[in-house]
Symmetry: C2
Subunit: 338 residues, 2 copies
């Protein structure tokens, strides 16, 4: 036994284990002198309390889980960064779980975490998620949970998101004002709240500007080669003159296909996309983007989760928090020079 624990300290100091424990937790019922003695030896022996014993006894793990669809995506990386800006200050540890856009995995993970391993979870649901029972089960069990970005409006659970519909409207409007007549929307299938919000914004803009040509909603997938094939097929018949991509990846696919088909951006096709890629400005041409406040979303979501964990009462605005995105106009939606 080279591991130092309370018992060892207690024996060394001729004290009871309980006294040592209390001394280290700075309890008022321990005299300053003994506290000092205990602290000194603990320091000297490099004592570190066993987290499993503490967790077991106190029934709290000082750990939270982050469940996201993927991580090779600037948005989610930045969210994690935001979360990590809070968690250490609260003494919390962060577990990461990837669903790879698989509802079954998501459900199973959430189920598996209901054993006290974590004190709360932050979820951005996968795009194959149709039922929210697994989320609701957490809510019903009274366990702390927040949804971010890919949320679910119906549930009485804190949502932290951005103004998707509004920005989708603005992006579409931007394309229309730049002279586009046939604007296509690239979304991911499923009935993800986020997809719906973005599609709704797109449709609203078309309606407001009384666009005659019917909306063109193209549903893409997680696989690049499938997307390229789909786009290739659509674009080689009658290409749209404006593309609004709901995800960065789809904008990249659009660029690739336009290059293949020798469609000039922005002369023949203008492109705007939700994206948090800093390097979007270096694209050929520079990509107009809607930047989401990913870091802030992560930070605020974490703050709210910790409030839930600490059983503090949430302010009304914290139940459904909307952090605004920003539209950056770049060359990919530049006006034609006549």
């Amino acid at each position: 036994m080279d591991q130092v624990n309370l018992k060892k300290l207690a024996k060394e100091l001729n004290l009871a284990v309980s006294t040592v424990s209390r001394a280290l937790r700075d309890s008022h019922e321990i005299s300053p002198q003994t506290k000092e003695r205990v602290r000194e030896l603990a320091e000297k022996l490099g004592f570190q309390p066993n987290p499993h014993a503490s967790s077991l006894r106190q029934n709290k793990s000082k750990t939270i889980a982050v469940i996201i669809p993927e991580i090779e995506n600037n948005f989610f990386s930045q969210v994690i960064n935001g979360i990590e800006s809070v968690s250490p200050t609260k003494g919390y540890h962060v577990l990461i779980y990837l669903t790879h856009e698989d509802y079954n995995k998501e459900r199973d993970m959430l189920q598996l975490l209901r054993n006290g391993r974590v004190d709360g979870v932050m979820v951005s649901v996968s795009n194959t998620t149709t039922s929210f029972e697994h989320i609701d089960a957490w809510r019903q069990a009274g366990l702390p949970l927040v949804l971010f970005d890919r949320t679910c409006d119906e549930l009485d659970v804190p949502n932290i998101m951005t103004n998707d519909a509004e920005m989708a409207f603005k992006a579409t409007e931007h394309l229309l004002k730049r002279g586009c007549k046939r604007v296509a929307f690239l979304g991911m299938g499923g009935n993800l709240s986020i997809s719906n919000r973005r599609k709704a914004g797109y449709l609203a803009a078309l309606e407001k500007y009384k666009i005659a040509t019917p909306p063109q909603v193209i549903e893409l997938t997680a696989k690049d080669y499938i997307n390229r094939e789909t786009l290739h097929q659509v674009f080689s018949q009658q290409p749209p003159d404006g593309v609004f991509a709901a995800i960065e990846k789809f904008a990249v696919n659009t660029y690739e296909v336009c290059k293949e088909l020798k469609l000039h951006i922005p002369k023949e096709v203008k492109v705007v996309s939700f994206s948090n890629l800093q390097a979007a400005a270096l694209f050929d041409p520079a990509l107009s983007t809607i930047i989401q406040p990913a870091y802030d979303i992560g930070r605020e979501a974490a703050n709210i989760l910790f409030k839930l964990i600490e059983k503090k009462i949430l302010m009304p605005f914290e139940k459904k928090m909307v952090l605004p995105s920003q539209l950056i106009e770049r060359a990919s939606t530049a006006e034609l020079i006549r």
Copy 2:
């Protein structure tokens, strides 16, 4: 108490706690019939063993830690993805810690994790790390640890990395063969193993091709605006005609500054960089990159860590594993058309 535990199951079944425990762990000393009875009720009541109690008793946490400098970087995201491709299959959970390139944080984290919270750690050291005592302390304590990418050759700890020196040599050689006379190297300060290896490869290439002009090593930082300032200053005097960036971020900075100074890439300056950004092909001009096998590095590092945890003996090649990178030549290093 709505929480189901062994005691509850035992009482319900008129069995001893130990029997229930053994039945659920499929012990040979429990009859098939009772096993079935126990399993059925456990299933029905949704029993999930308390991980803290198990961890405490068994002295293992089924958790590993990943300590990385940052996460808003495609490379590290891909590494995590690789790790996550292994850990669930082993029943392990993954904690993420960010050092933000701060040696003190790194040291403290490693110290803090020496309390049984995790069964092993994977570290990519920060660039402010000069001493490796904190790493060595783990090794000496016999705790499982692997280093990846940003490693330390001196220590007797498994290293999983890529062929940095070789690829740096190739990248520099590539620039020289494309006609560059004054190739600059953009590295990050500190004496990180990875920086040294890349710098060494750069210098070796200059030497082999007997370049008369002295090497130009420019040390950049984590802050974009500082880097832009530095590069602006250097480039506005006598710009190099070739730039080899050790990190993606520095290539982006180079692009930005070249745009400011109206230096044409690749006519006046050719650029090649270590980068795992898929979108590098869409840059203006498309960026020549050295792609690191990030996913594989994560996967292999995790595999080796689990071998250590399971006290399996490592094969010699697993102690220092080198996974090859790939040089993709694109427009940013295209030959001039005369």
